[in-house]
Amino acid sequence: MLTDSQPSIDIPVPQKTIIKLEHIYKIYGAGDAEVIALDNVNLEINQGEYCAIMGASGSGKSTVMNMIGCLDRPSSGQYYLDGEDVANLSEAALAKTRNLKIGFVFQQYHLLSQLSAIENVMLPMVYAGIKGNERVDRAADALKRVGMGHRLKNKPNEMSGGQQQRVAIARAIVNQPVLLLADEPTGALDSHTTREVIDLFTELNQGGITVVIVTHELDVGRATRRIVWFRDGQVIHNNLSPQDLSLVAAS
């Protein structure tokens, strides 16, 4: 009886670390042509965070995104994804990690033109070995969740850019990844659609999904709750609040 009348108290639970980069270096070329793309990057992102990785062109934000997305291996350093050391996994194991733990969203949507919306969303489950009705049901659910439940059978060329990006987001979340990783997800969209897509990310984050967006758009960065600022392959600001963004961007 007592508990009912009392206001609930938020008890901070220890948060699980999803991404842990330790002393990550990425070096291209050798000798005089050596380019240090990532220079001793240390970064932790916890479960449930809504984070933007920002910086100027050539700052290393794309390289770090490829690293986080298990598309690339570091030259040296440790990377723990969801507690697992993935820096030195084999090609096949990396593919499996991408399949089950990461959902990618790209600037150009990257939907397969010969497949319908639902078939595109089913693609990660094909590689995960999920079959039959479960595959169809989960794909339909994911599409409903991004507001595309009415366009299951449409091909990409029958949809607007915003709709295609929604389908791509459905594809990214359908395998229930620990991380939703978006690379300039609004780069090809107008400002109105950008707003809608960002709202969708916010909504998904509120639903518990960890979201990391790589972007150079300040508006997009402001919508998140934490900004990691890169310059010359290094993390300059590890936890910038959206309010301070303009100051940093201007500098």
């Binding site: 096949a92 693609l123 990660p124 995960a128 395998n175």
Partner: protein, 409 residues
Amino acid sequence: MDIVESLKMAGKTITANKLRSGLTMLGIIIGNASVIAMVGVGQGAKIYAESQFQSLGTNVLFILPGTDNARRNTIAPPNRLILADAEAIATQVPSVDKVAPQLNGSELATYRNNAKRASLIGTTPEYSPVRNADVKQGRFITADDVKRNARVVTLGSSISKDLFGNGEAIGQQIRIRNISFEVIGIMDEKGAFLGANQDDTVFMPFSTMTSRIIGRTSPYGVAVQVITLSAKDNTNVETAKFQITNLLRLRHRNTSSASDEVTFTVRTQKDALEIVGNITNALTLLLAAIAAISLVVGGIGIMNIMLVSVTERTSEIGLRKAVGASQSDILTQFLIEAVILSVAGGLIGTGVGVSGILIVGTFTPLKAGVSMGAITLAVGVSGAIGLFFGVVPAKQAAKLDPIVALRSA
């Protein structure tokens, strides 16, 4: 990812771009169709040649002057096979039934304003039963005609038509080398036999041919070009061959066993069938080899288009890798696409080839066999070619760096 998923995915890709898939398959289709058709035609030729020989009857033997080796290696050796040999065989070899000596020639035959080059055969009445050559109208040469050197001819069906049209031929006079011959009969149609059309042949008595047309051609007597004879019953053919060989060796004094001193060759229908079989098998092999080249070219076509397709689909490959496809998944997908294209091409090509065989069978006497062996082989080979030529593009696709691939869109 299992094979069913891979098949479905490949099917989707192939049907998504029908024109390109069709063009990719075209080479294999043509290659396969030509293999099937060529082998079929080759076999048809074999069957046809064999049936021609079989129509002669299994108890037939041929005696030819000289040997195969001598004919190949020397310039016109004197012909020692003479009419007297034929007569000796007829009277002295017990297993022989009928003997027909034969002289060949080629002369212009004319009737009024019609002229036609005809092959000439001088022979005896036995020719008709031994060679299964029947008379349609009138009569064949008789023993009496041979005895009297009669100037009479029996015409093959088409030469008769060429000279007389639909008019009455029997009783008319035709001219060969400015000598008149009376037409006494017309033969049944027989068709071409190993290149010589028997329907274009003019038959005349052996004696008439030697005295009026050819004359003495050998220092040993009246030379003959072929002696065709029939053995008394079917089981006796080898015996007859043995006895004839002995008799002729004695007569020609070929007592040495060295084969190149032998002045004649005895051939049974079986020997002849073997020779024809060898020729047609070689022909079939040649045709199949030519056709196989186009199959390989088709395979290269598949590789070519698949390579272009890998470049074109770079971003698709990158995306698939990003959502969890491993190198082996991509490799499998592209290999399966190549194999599906080539096997489908193989099956379509087989259909085309079989239709071709049926068409050839309808319009020519070559009743070509549709050989299951050739079909299985051709489709199997297409699949293997798809696999072989698919490896390079598939490996290229599998090795694509997903970062680079994704950026390419």
